[in-house]
Every structure is written in structure tokens, then in C-alpha cells.
């Protein structure tokens, strides 16, 4: 039994004693240790701060996007390929309600979808008139796609659409601008010379944030077919919700496959439609984050390198200061690997102490910025992996830059070391 335990216990005791010794060594030279580890402290603090801010920033932008347009949103539209310019007309390629039905039926990554068309029309109520009010033609599924419900009255229905009924939903701004009753449901508006029944009032979306810059305008939502009947030539596109934010690639592939098939495109034919997903906005942020990461990486790299040189220097000093001690330990039977371990552990402990201080500084930095006025992100947590990366970096610096002095100590001849003054 002790045949197995003894060597293990020996190693455990050796490492433990070595760590203890190293901590004592750092404590005995506190000021020197902190100054030496300055590079490590700065490096780790930057790692912690940059990762925390980018992480919190990404979460914040995602949530802003989600409340503004929804992170599962996808758009599809007709598009004349560059090579077909002049040959094809936009009306040859525009998306149809037939295609909308096809996508809903056949694309598993698409959860809900509505065709959209929009144009400005004059709207009047009593003596009030709004020119160029934004009028949207939508399917009832729009409520789901945009996750926007009515606060008064009822939403649009399939029958409204099928029968091309002259009904509309209005937003709060329309009530203000047209001086409507606070409960306008049941009243009639005049839209482009036609009477439209107000069936409901839409909730105001809490977009705001980075995307909700513009002032709200009067908006009307009418059945898609009604819109098309009034203006068959307005542009049409689809807005869809994917089953989740990660389905973007699948959704694109499915839409492409289904539309190409439906349009009889084959082989080298170019797509006669375009599409985009909100993911691209996230991608843009990721690209930005990458640039910041690379920039921060350079700063961190330089400070860790400078810190490492400092560590190497101080370890070389430590080795020559303690040459006699090394000689004594060797004369008592310390093998070269044990001496190597002793100095390597000391360098790593020194770096880890610096790393821990850097961790504190980085954490403090995030708190200070969070407390600043106008800083939009409410919470900047320090992610666990940032801590691991920070401490991992400092330990690696200790090993990389501590190995040379440690080898120097390990290779010393015992008697030369003992004679050293």
C-alpha cells in the first residue's frame, strides 16, 4: 500500500511546501513583487474588462435588436440579378402570395410569415387630414411576426383579407394626429377616398434604444388583399419569423431551395430574389467585437510580454540572490527537477498573485464604468471564462518566463553555488 502512497505523498508534500515557500518569498518582497507583476496586472485587468464589456455589449445589442425588430426576423424580396439588368423587370421577380404560402408550408425553419406592402396615402377624419400616412398591407399573421397586438378592438382576420374588407388598425399617433375619440373602434376614416372601418388600436412598440430614433408617425394597417386591390403595383416583400435565432442558415437554405424550385431556376441561374436576416446585424457587432478583441489582444499581449520579461528578470535576481540556498538544498540531495520545480512554482505564484490583483482591478473597472451616468448597459458581469483566461494567461507567463531562471538554478553545480557570495 505504502509503495503506491509514498511517492504520491512525496510529490504532494513537495508541491505544497514549494507553493508555501513561494508565497513566503513573494510576501517577503511585497513591493518588489507587485512592481514586477505590474505588466501582468495590467494585462489581466484588460482581459477582464474587455471581455466583460464585449460580453455585456453583445447581450445588450441582442436584446435591443430583439425589442426593435426581433432577433428571429427574416426578410425576403424579389430582386433582378445584376446580369439580368434590363432583361428582366422588377414585376417579373416580385414575391407572390403563392410563394408566401409555399414557404409557410415547406420551410421547416420558418415559423410564421406575412407578405408586406406599404405606401403613403392621405387619411382624413372630420376636418383633420394627414398626408402621406404610412399604410401597410399585411396578413393577420403579421400580429405574430411583429408580435404586436391590439389594445382596443380586434386584430385583423383571414376573412378581412379574403373578402378585401375596408377595415384598418391604427396606432396611437393616428388618434392624436386625426383627433379621434380615445376609443375610436367603430368609427370610419377616409383613406384615399374610401371609407375604412377602424376595427382596432395597436399597442405602441417599446423599440426605443439604439434603433428607435425616429419620431412616431400615423400608421394604418389594412388587409394585404385590400391594399393590393387599391394599388397592385406597390412593392411586396415577406417578413418572417424563424423558429429560433440560430436557424438563420437553415432558413436561408430552405427559402432559397423552395423559391428557386418554384421559379424554375436551375444550374447557373442566379437567384431572382434576395433575403436577409437580423443575424447580419449581430454579425456586424461580432465583427466589431472581433476588431476590439484584436486591439485589446495586442495591448494584452504587449503588457503580458513586458510583464513576463519583468518576471524573468526578477527570477534571475532571485536565483542569484539565493544561489547559496540552492547550493545548500542541492548538497542535501535536492535533485535538479526539484530545484527547477521550486523556481518555476515561484514564478507562477508571483504571476498568479499579479493575475489576482489584475482580476480585482478589471472588476473594479467594470463597476466604475457601470456607475458612470449615461452608460446604457445596466449590468456588466465578469464572465467565468474571462477569469479562467486571465489566470491561465498569468500562469502561462510564469511558466514561459520562469523556465529560464529555473533551469539556470537547476543546473548549478552544488559546490559552485555554495561558494557563491
Amino acid at each position: 500500500m505504502s509503495v503506491i502512497i509514498a511517492p504520491v505523498a512525496w510529490v504532494v508534500r513537495l508541491v505544497w511546501q514549494t507553493v508555501f515557500l513561494a508565497l513566503g518569498q513573494v510576501w517577503a518582497n511585497k513591493v518588489r513583487a507587485v512592481l514586477t507583476a505590474l505588466g501582468i496586472i495590467i494585462g489581466v485587468a484588460s482581459v477582464i474588462a474587455v471581455i466583460s464589456f464585449l460580453d455585456a455589449g453583445r447581450k445588450w445589442i441582442l436584446s435591443e435588436l430583439d425589442s426593435a425588430v426581433g432577433s428571429r426576423t427574416m426578410w425576403v424580396w424579389g430582386q433582378v440579378p445584376d446580369s439580368q439588368e434590363g432583361v428582366m423587370n422588377w414585376s417579373d421577380v416580385r414575391v407572390t402570395t403563392h410563394e408566401a404560402v409555399l414557404l409557410l408550408e415547406k420551410a421547416p425553419s420558418i415559423e410564421s410569415l406575412t407578405p408586406l406592402c406599404q405606401r403613403g396615402w392621405q387619411v382624413g377624419y372630420g376636418r383633420e387630414t394627414v398626408r402621406g400616412a404610412s399604410v401597410w398591407g399585411v396578413w393577420p399573421s403579421w400580429h405574430e411576426v411583429e408580435s404586436r397586438q391590439v389594445t382596443l378592438g380586434r386584430p385583423l382576420t383571414d376573412i378581412d383579407n379574403a373578402e378585401r374588407r375596408p377595415v384598418c388598425l391604427i396606432n396611437e399617433q393616428a388618434i392624436t394626429e386625426l383627433k379621434l375619440d380615445i376609443d375610436p373602434v367603430g368609427d370610419y376614416l377616409v383613406l384615399n377616398g374610401r371609407r375604412f372601418l377602424i376595427v382596432g388600436v395597436l399597442e405602441t412598440k417599446s423599440g426605443g434604444g439604439i434603433f428607435g430614433g425616429s419620431q412616431p408617425r400615423t400608421e394604418l394597417y389594412i388587409p394585404f388583399n385590400t391594399h393590393k386591390m387599391m394599388d397592385p403595383y406597390s412593392g411586396t416583400w415577406f417578413q418572417a419569423n424563424m423558429i429560433n435565432a440560430n436557424a438563420a442558415d437553415d432558413a436561408k437554405a430552405e427559402v432559397r431551395f423552395i423559391l428557386r424550385k418554384n421559379r424554375g431556376l436551375s444550374g447557373d441561374d442566379e437567384d431572382t430574389f434576395g433575403m436577409d436576416v437580423i443575424q447580419n446585424a449581430i454579425q456586424m457587432f461580432n465583427n466589431f467585437a472581433f476588431v476590439v478583441m484584436v486591439g485589446a489582444g495586442v495591448v494584452v499581449g504587449i503588457s503580458l510580454f513586458v510583464g513576463g520579461i519583468g518576471i524573468m528578470n526578477i527570477m534571475l535576481v532571485s536565483v542569484s540572490e539565493r544561489t547559496r540556498e540552492i547550493g545548500l538544498r542541492k548538497s542535501l540531495g535536492a535533485q535538479p527537477p526539484v530545484v527547477l520545480l521550486q523556481f518555476l512554482v515561484e514564478a507562477v505564484v508571483l504571476c498568479l498573485v499579479g493575475g489576482l490583483i489584475g482580476l480585482g482591478v478589471g472588476f473594479a473597472l467594470t463597476r466604475v464604468v457601470m456607475l458612470m451616468q449615461d452608460f446604457p448597459i445596466k449590468d456588466v458581469p465578469v464572465p467565468g471564462y474571462a477569469i479562467l483566461i486571465g489566470l491561465g494567461f498569468s500562469a502561462s507567463v510564469g511558466i514561459v518566463f520562469g523556465i529560464l531562471p529555473a533551469i539556470k538554478a537547476a543546473m548549478l553545480n552544488p559546490i559552485d553555488a555554495l561558494r557563491h557570495e
Binding site: Q17, E325, Q335
Partner: protein, 279 residues
């Protein structure tokens, strides 16, 4: 290699044609110019010689702290001149207890921690290191001073800690290079008495000294000059030492005789004679 397997007829130390040449600039210093020496189990040997005669160089090689330029050094049947750094470290740890003139204690550690140090580098006494260190300190009479740091101890006590540290792994040979060189004469006597006690208990001891009274306590005196052995005798037959003993007692007698009016104290005369002669 262990003490238990030591065969009294087999030399603990066997060196042949040992040379050590130092290069100082363009000059070559022959610190050892061909030394042959056998030391058997339970011997107590004193190595003497003028300063610069090569005593320390020889001791360092015996202690595996240094390697000879040429020649053989066989310790307990194992040729150390063929060993690498790692195995030499093992030999130093298990076979050799080395005592330095300047004690070489870790100043920030207690006496107990200092004595435990050799066991840190050995897998043999993992679970009993503290107990063994305490026993070793008790053996050298420092049972009450275990938690003291070196700077809280006198010179003689520091050297006792070093002796305890040298003994703690039960080495087959105890090597001491001028162990009393930094001590006053009263403390010197204490340390030498300790060596004699260890020798009586079976320890093989080699001690370097340039004091005849210290050498007189050993069984055998080896004299070096210019890196060679010039004489090797049992203490009782060593002409130089016996001459010194004679001169000492005569000199003492003369001093006592000179003290006019006062009666020479026979007791103190005997004591001096005894200190000079073999113990």
C-alpha cells in the same frame, strides 16, 4: 546502498588516483594531485594540512558536491565518478551527511524545519519526517530549541542543528569540513564530544581540521600537503601529533612551573594532557 548492508571489511570510501585541477585563467591549480585513500566503516578520521593543501577539495569530492578531474571514488561499492547529477543528488541525500564550517542553515526556518529539509528530498520518511527530525535534535541536545530560528541560537547550537540535519537520513558517512572553525574553544570541545559520542554509536566520521587537539580526538590522522597525502597513521602513532602532545604537556608544565609560589595543579595538567592525547 545503505548502512545496513555495510560490510566492515569493505571500505566505505575507496579513492584511487584522485586528481582535481582548477583552471584559473591560464593557470592550472592542482588542488589534488593524485590521492589514494580507504576509509572503513566506523572509522573516525581527521584530515589535516595547511591552508590550501586541498582538504576542502577532497571533502567536497567525498561529499559528492564536486567531481574529480581524474581518478575513482567508490562509495559503498558504487562508483560515484560515473554518476550523473540526479544520482549524485540521491547519494548526497541518503549516504552523506555534510557539515560545513559556516553551518549553512536556512535563516528564515526554525531548527526543526532545517533538520527536516533533507527528508523533503527523500521518499523514505514521508510520514515520520517531523518525528525523526525531533529525535535527531534531541540526540544533539537541542530538544528544547526546536522552534528557534538560527539567529536565536548560539554558534555551537547552530552547528548542532547542522549535525542533526546531517544525521537525520542516517548517512553511511558523516563529513565535516572544519566544523569548529567558527566556534570558540569551549564550544569546540562540545561539538567534538558530540562527534565522539556519535562515533561510539557506530557512525563513520571524517573531519577536516587544522587544530591538533581536535585531530587528537580521532582514531586516525591523514595529512595532506600540496594535494597529496604525506602521512596516514593511527593517532597514537602519528609522529607529528605525538610531538605536539609532548610539547603541549611540557609547555604547560613550564607555564605551571613559572608561576612562582603557586603549586601546579596536577588535575588541570592532566586535563590538558588528556585533551591533547587520544580520547
Amino acid at each position: 546502498m545503505s548502512r545496513a548492508s555495510a560490510d566492515p571489511t569493505q571500505a566505505t570510501i575507496k579513492i584511487r588516483g584522485l586528481k582535481k585541477i582548477f583552471r584559473v585563467g591560464d593557470e592550472r591549480v592542482h588542488a589534488l594531485a593524485g590521492v589514494d585513500l580507504d576509509i572503513y566503516p566506523n572509522e573516525f578520521v581527521a584530515i589535516m594540512g595547511a591552508s590550501g593543501s586541498g582538504k576542502s577539495t577532497l571533502m567536497n569530492i567525498l561529499g559528492c558536491l564536486d567531481q574529480p578531474t581524474r581518478g575513482e571514488y567508490v562509495l559503498n561499492g558504487h562508483p560515484t565518478h560515473r554518476m550523473g547529477m540526479g544520482r549524485l543528488a540521491r547519494v548526497r541525500n541518503r549516504e552523506i551527511g555534510f557539515i560545513f564550517q559556516s553551518f549553512e542553515l536556512l535563516s528564515r526556518s526554525s531548527a526543526l524545519k532545517n533538520v527536516m529539509l533533507p527528508m523533503l528530498y527523500s521518499r523514505d520518511h514521508i510520514f515520520h519526517a517531523r518525528k525523526r527530525a525531533k529525535e535527531a535534535l534531541m540526540r544533539v541536545g537541542l530538544g528544547e530549541r526546536m522552534s528557534h530560528r538560527p539567529n536565536q541560537l548560539s554558534g555551537g547550537q547552530r552547528q548542532r542543528v547542522a549535525v542533526a540535519r546531517a544525521l537525520v537520513n542516517e548517512p553511511s558517512i558523516l563529513l565535516a569540513d572544519e566544523p569548529t572553525g567558527n566556534l570558540d574553544s569551549k564550544t569546540t570541545v562540545e561539538i567534538i564530544e558530540l562527534f565522539k559520542e556519535l562515533h561510539r554509536a557506530g557512525q563513520t566520521i571524517v573531519v577536516v581540521t587544522h587544530e591538533e587537539d581536535v585531530a587528537g580526538q580521532a582514531e586516525r590522522i591523514v595529512r595532506l600537503r600540496d594535494g597529496r597525502i604525506i602521512s596516514d597513521h593511527p593517532t597514537s602513532e602519528d609522529p607529528i601529533h605525538q610531538g605536539w602532545v609532548r610539547r603541549m604537556s611540557e609547555g604547560q608544565a613550564a607555564i605551571f612551573a613559572e608561576e612562582a609560589g603557586s603549586e601546579a595543579d596536577p588535575a588541570s595538567k592532566d586535563l590538558v594532557a588528556e585533551r591533547g592525547a587520544q580520547g
